[in-house]
Subunit: 292 residues, 4 copies
Amino acid sequence: MRSSPGMVVRTVGICLKPEQPQLVDLVRGLERWLTERGIRVMLDPQAAGVTGAAEVPRSDLAAKVDLVIVLGGDGTLLAVARAIGDRPVPVLGVNLGTLGFLAEIASDEMYDALERVLAGGFRIESRMRLDVSVQRGARECGRYRALNDAVLARNAVSRMIDLETFANGVEVTTYHADGVIAATPTGSTAYSLSAGGPLLLPESEAIVLTPISPHTLTQRPLVLPATCAVEICVRDTRGGEVRLTVDGQVGCELGEGDCVRVHRSAHPILLLVSPERNSFEAMRTKLRWGAR
Amino acid sequence: MRSSPGMVVRTVGICLKPEQPQLVDLVRGLERWLTERGIRVMLDPQAAGVTGAAEVPRSDLAAKVDLVIVLGGDGTLLAVARAIGDRPVPVLGVNLGTLGFLAEIASDEMYDALERVLAGGFRIESRMRLDVSVQRGARECGRYRALNDAVLARNAVSRMIDLETFANGVEVTTYHADGVIAATPTGSTAYSLSAGGPLLLPESEAIVLTPISPHTLTQRPLVLPATCAVEICVRDTRGGEVRLTVDGQVGCELGEGDCVRVHRSAHPILLLVSPERNSFEAMRTKLRWGAR
Amino acid sequence: MRSSPGMVVRTVGICLKPEQPQLVDLVRGLERWLTERGIRVMLDPQAAGVTGAAEVPRSDLAAKVDLVIVLGGDGTLLAVARAIGDRPVPVLGVNLGTLGFLAEIASDEMYDALERVLAGGFRIESRMRLDVSVQRGARECGRYRALNDAVLARNAVSRMIDLETFANGVEVTTYHADGVIAATPTGSTAYSLSAGGPLLLPESEAIVLTPISPHTLTQRPLVLPATCAVEICVRDTRGGEVRLTVDGQVGCELGEGDCVRVHRSAHPILLLVSPERNSFEAMRTKLRWGAR
Amino acid sequence: MRSSPGMVVRTVGICLKPEQPQLVDLVRGLERWLTERGIRVMLDPQAAGVTGAAEVPRSDLAAKVDLVIVLGGDGTLLAVARAIGDRPVPVLGVNLGTLGFLAEIASDEMYDALERVLAGGFRIESRMRLDVSVQRGARECGRYRALNDAVLARNAVSRMIDLETFANGVEVTTYHADGVIAATPTGSTAYSLSAGGPLLLPESEAIVLTPISPHTLTQRPLVLPATCAVEICVRDTRGGEVRLTVDGQVGCELGEGDCVRVHRSAHPILLLVSPERNSFEAMRTKLRWGAR
């Protein structure tokens, strides 16, 4: 966790949730607000699409801006985080709909929050990510980066699959299950929680392995040090289909023998959060955690 | 539970696990053993396929035989149970591989078991089944019968689905989950258990509703009286695919608005079980339930 | 479930939560309201204590009244249910504080509800109870009746205990745990749920066995038919103390070798419930079951 | 994890499980074996009790010896760890009975293991411990050190308790439960696992908070960074008794208003483990984790 006292914002990128033409006023208003303060604005293709302005690909934004504002929800922020790649640019999530864990600024608080961000009043919180790669024989056939999780799961029409799992080359267990989730602490409040995983503070560091509907009574979620290199190999699909899904958004089909390697990325995402932000309160509010 | 003292066996049907040409000797041996005792034998297409004899469709067997012998595992027995339909013909499961809950006779005990069956020494255990139908608007577009379970679940690439659920027309809950399982007591040791459901005695009567990876912290498995008519309606698929799968074997795609109706079938399956059979021991042995 | 169209109420018993002197006006007002309608009123010692009138022991009430009104919460109703014994007298629970599963009438709805009860507008719902006895060698050294549950549990300073469990004389499992709960369907929303047990409709019939913090990964809750006679025997206390607690209120110390027998009581409790009552809604409201 | 290539062992302390007079030959044999190698031996009161030799209090051992050998099981090792206090002396656990997580050397492998230890062939594995203190008003009224866990729990005859919990002074949640467990990674395979907590590698660093039978559907285990200072305050006992128990062995009664503070101890325990030791294998073997 680093504070951002000397944060100088000359250029801001705006990323928008797809297919929101009705938000044209919001984007134009934000653009004007920033321009009035001498800040240059770049729009991602979705934002440019609704205003008719020039667009900058999301993958180019990080190199060109000092701050990315995401207008959308957690899903949009996950997609932007994936697109901006390795550059350590701070991201501010503005929530347009339901409550989010990542996009925590409500849209009616946006300008107040931005004033505080520009005044150096927000914290930069580093959130661990996972580098995910698919090994097929000697060949790497897919690379992803996850802010929430990498999920290996059978298809609905398939049956139980066997996933042999290693940590730093040492055998962990073989999951006979619908699948397994490798989650970051940020992802511990997402799908992993649904499958019975524990809660972790999003700003902490660890890898959580949570089995999905294990077909043995003896499986339990496992919390590994963030430094572990995890490898999950598809041993038996019983003729069914198995998929890797990263952050619920991208992925690929897996076959028997394929191995998914997961380890802490050298490139965390930098979230701008208000100094009042409190992960426990977020869990209580958004998950109704502990509610009577 | 009824005993079978006066069980008269004049004709026996033999059903075989698919694609087992190497079992030709087992099928022929069994056929001969029965014929020597004056019993007529009918073979299902799989069994006839390996011996080259005439075949009788599984759906015709129940009307023509006094006893069905299933050579295979639980999967084969589930398929045979579905095929034989409404006729109350006793079924004896002979296990060819791993331990089963339904096919409990090991293949090397088969002839001993049959001697006892013919002598009236086995019990007939009635196992509740579920009638499952799919309602699309005013139209019924699918009918199934389940010995284990009916599962509504999203596809691996899809997201959480919303399933509004009713019992006898009264709202139960809306599952925001990967899916929900409606299981018989027999099915309580199968997929429902993997998803966190409780154990029930297979010979008891109830319907278990077990959510799969519920996206709310507050869901719990629910055990309903067997007399409940359950209706599960697909409310929101978030653009993904949803499937109904019955006994892990058959089913259909579901769309938003489709409702799956589940209620106790008037036609239980009649399993022949040895008098020594003990459901608790079966759970301890096959699930390692309670093992230290 | 029986309706109460011809319910004739000549005498009413009023039971009060202990130590509520401030409720003198409520008790007197209810007494007056009933007397004005020609109904005789009898007060239990707690109610008599606050008004100064003559008292009737709770254990005598059932034989003398046509209806028992319980002013208190679920705890008071559990205590009254235990006290009134075998007589099938209808009980109406009026809730004075937090929401209850058993005492469902809010105090400000009391007179409206009573009008409807007298007019035959309420249903009588039969709730299964458990007869619980403690066997020490050849001697029965304790008898209880449970509306919620019978709990065998180690003391806080003790260690894991071993509880060998039988159903109809057949070995079920040995719990190596902090304890085990034998719950009715009514009790399935109480302590059993905290320990991970499933939900059952309170008006259904079954016995739920839920282990408390089992020291093996392989334990699961078990739902038995209501007709099962369950026996739980204390095999090893590791030098610690073990207690039987019935409905969280009464019980006794147990020693190694003691066995607790639990079976469905021939004497259910008869709860008066409004025709609009809906057990699923009660679960959703009071447990926040399924809440997002 | 540090290796011990230059480990010089001049003096060894031997600690014995209490009340094992039949082990006199084992202790004498070990004493002789060490003496023959020029190593001085000191016996704790239990070991001295069976041989009749002079005794050294366990609390003095750490300052006087280069290695402590514990003859017993996990319980004995927990007790020795507590007694030896802050001094960083390596501990070797020799298991005399059932399999242990801490005492991993079988007694028949003891001399082989010691040869390897003296040759520098064992690793020293640092295991995080917790400093636990009880705050009553302004006064600290108890201090403990935990290798497994600190448990706040109600007594068997008591009801649910309310435990308000803070991390670094920030409110985490209020547990309405039978209690809560604050566990080390080493303790994650002990009581915390029984209560539904996740598995952690014993050599990792974290604090696990696991509720015991939470009376709300919304509680989940929480994994905190090892750097968190946790405070658990007894808010409501509902007239019952609450106890703090450390490592299942020592502790004290708690009253309303008492707060238990838990944070990572500056003094880990140093376990000698064989280079082949593998925590995942230990979990699979000793917990049957993942067993089919």
